[in-house]
């Protein structure tokens, strides 16, 4: 694969990740799904780029390395935002009694998570 084509995949992935984070709206399922689709498309682009790097199609320059590092930083940023939402809803689920089961080291379901106090409005 020509280096320019491979790098275009990287740039498109980066753009998709940015767009996914920019339009992420935790309160809107439809937008959450759109963000996820953008990220899936970014993952496909990154796989293509990874294959090109592995095949030696792309020169291993310091500049390219720092671009990849910058993309990774954006992924870390997006992960923190999404993790906040996951943690928020995990807490809510625990309160409504719908917390996912907890598995022990043998793969068996442990005791139900300790129930939290029912929702109390001040």
């Amino acid at each position: 694969m020509p280096p320019d084509t491979a790098i275009a995949h990287l740039e498109r992935a980066r753009s998709g990740i940015r767009q996914a984070l920019a339009q992420w709206n935790a309160a809107d399922l439809e937008q959450v799904e759109e963000s996820r689709e953008l990220l899936v498309a970014a993952a496909v682009d990154l796989r293509v780029f990874e294959t090109a790097v592995g095949a030696g199609d792309v020169p291993h320059t310091a500049e390219l390395y720092s671009t990849i590092l910058a993309v990774k930083q954006e992924v870390v940023q997006a992960t923190r935002v999404v993790d906040t939402c996951v943690a928020f809803y995990r807490g809510l689920a625990a309160r409504t009694g719908d917390a996912p089961p907890v598995y022990n080291a043998e793969g068996h379901i442990e005791e139900e998570p300790a129930g939290l106090e029912p929702e109390v409005h001040a």
Binding site: V32, S35, L46, E50, L64, D83, T84, F88
Partner: protein, 480 residues
């Protein structure tokens, strides 16, 4: 007739109840922009109707219910605390970073390079008075540059102390507001929506300043505790904080004359500094005590700038003093080029100076083996890679300076990135708070699961992206 009267009475009661409901709605509209206010609803309950038993039915008001969700409130407060920390840290480390010249064309790195160049020129013409004078003036410039950096950093410490004091005052002021709320609760029998709005507004403001947890007591008062559990407000008591400077003595100070660290104490004089790990105060304390402490020293460390100043001065002086001013028999021994306060290792950078008594002729280019420019060559080599003389932590003086600049820059970059990310996290947490407020979570269990699954699916894609990027970077042979 009694039935008609009962009907009229029931209808009259209903009108009263619906009037109350309208008042509640009007109050919600009026307070739509009030900080901390949560929409309220009037609970209505049908009254029993027993025609033969004289119960007239109708509707009764069963008290107000607000839409605030304590769990969601805590989530937003917790994320806001982190944002306060990163914002303060980014601003403070930005100031510290501004004193370091990362390009190497100015500040201490440039002054060191000039001195090394002067040594190099002197090694070519060791008897040349102009070359000797250039060494002296370059040494003076380096000392002045190191002093200037140390003073700028000390000035930043003082500015941060002022900001820390101001932040502590704001925390105490908010604690007093919460204490007043508690007093009101203790004196009143029914919750006041206005007072509650003020309480939550105060807690939102407090979360920007420090980390804390709250517990609502059975009497309705709110207890606020710092991160480590030290109470800030209990009932109608405020445990006011104060800020001061002190050299830590536990563990015993290795450098008792070091610059003091910022300390936060409660009203009993207990040191609660370590409990403040988030919020604006946490960010200020982190930069003041950890970042600046690593540069200027504190009770447990000399500080990298002092390490540089002392090692550089000792190395240069040792080389010069080991040689002679000329190759003539009985030539005078060399004189130290630099002086510093050797009684206080944490004051080396601020006190570094050109030896006031040295003259150009007292510089010793001749080494102990009699080589006419042996010492001058050794001094010129101090900045060369692989030269063991003057090394600190395996780095020569030039590399060590670059490492100091780099670590300060890294601190600022990390804080700035964290601040940007945390702004988005707070925005999402606030959105989620709005989404769950006023909703019965038991009734919305299906929605909760749907959102949870959607987020987890997105988190999995992000894990894939992260793994692919890691694999790609591992495949690349260039690592910088």
């Amino acid at each position: 007739m009694p039935n008609i009267l009962a009907s009229l009475s029931s209808a009259g009661n209903a009108l009263d109840v619906f009037q109350q409901a309208l008042n509640v709605i009007q109050n919600n509209v009026d307070n739509s922009s009030t900080p901390g206010y949560a929409t309220q609803t009037l609970n209505l309950e049908a009254q029993p109707l027993v025609v033969t038993g004289g119960l007239t039915g109708g509707v009764a008001a069963q008290g107000l219910q607000d839409s605030r969700d304590n769990y969601a409130e805590e989530q937003v407060q917790s994320q806001t605390q982190a944002l306060g920390f990163y914002t303060a840290q980014a601003q403070a480390t930005g100031t510290v970073q501004s004193f370091f010249d990362v390009s190497g064309t100015g500040g201490v790195p440039a002054a060191l390079n000039n001195l090394l160049s002067a040594f190099s020129a002197w090694s070519v013409t060791p008897d040349d008075a102009t070359a000797e004078q250039t060494v002296l003036s370059s040494a003076q410039s380096l000392a002045a540059s190191v002093n200037g950096l140390a003073n700028s950093l000390s000035g930043t410490s003082q500015q941060l102390d002022t900001q820390i004091g101001s932040t502590v005052s704001q925390i105490n002021s908010i604690a007093t507001q919460i204490q007043q709320y508690n007093q009101q609760v203790l004196q009143s029998t029914t919750p006041d929506p206005g007072a509650q709005a003020q309480l939550y507004s105060a807690l939102d403001n407090l979360s920007q300043l420090t980390n804390f947890t709250t517990v609502t007591q059975t009497d309705g008062t709110v207890t606020v505790m710092l991160g480590g559990g030290d109470p800030l407000v209990i009932g109608n008591q405020v445990n006011a904080l104060s800020a001061s400077d002190a050299v830590a003595t536990n563990p015993p100070a290795t450098y008792p004359n070091s610059p003091p660290s910022a300390v936060i104490t409660d009203s009993q004089g207990n040191d609660v500094t370590s409990q403040i790990t988030s919020g604006q105060l946490g960010g200020l304390l982190d930069t003041r005590n950890r970042v600046l402490g690593s540069l200027l020293g504190n009770a447990q460390q000399q500080g990298s700038l002092n390490q540089f100043a002392q090692t550089m001065a000792d190395t240069v002086n040792q080389i010069l003093e080991s040689g002679t001013v000329s190759t003539a028999t009985g030539a005078a021994a060399g004189t130290a080029l630099f002086t510093y306060d050797s009684s206080n290792p944490t004051n080396a950078a601020a006190s570094l100076a050109l030896n006031s008594s040295i003259t150009p002729g007292e510089l010793a280019p001749v080494d102990s083996s009699g080589n006419s420019n042996g010492n001058a060559n050794q001094l010129a080599d101090l900045g060369n890679t692989g030269n063991a003389a003057g090394n600190i932590d395996g780095m020569n003086l030039v590399q060590f300076l670059a490492q100091i600049s780099s670590s300060v820059g890294q601190e600022n970059q990390t804080a700035t990135t964290n601040q940007t990310t945390q702004q988005q996290v707070v925005a999402q947490a606030t959105t989620l708070r709005g989404q769950v407020s006023g909703v019965s979570l038991d009734e919305q269990a299906t929605n909760v699961l749907q959102f949870q699954r959607a987020y987890q699916a997105t988190a999995q894609v992000l894990t894939v992206l992260n793994d692919v990027l890691d694999d790609t970077m591992n495949m690349m042979t260039v690592t910088t």
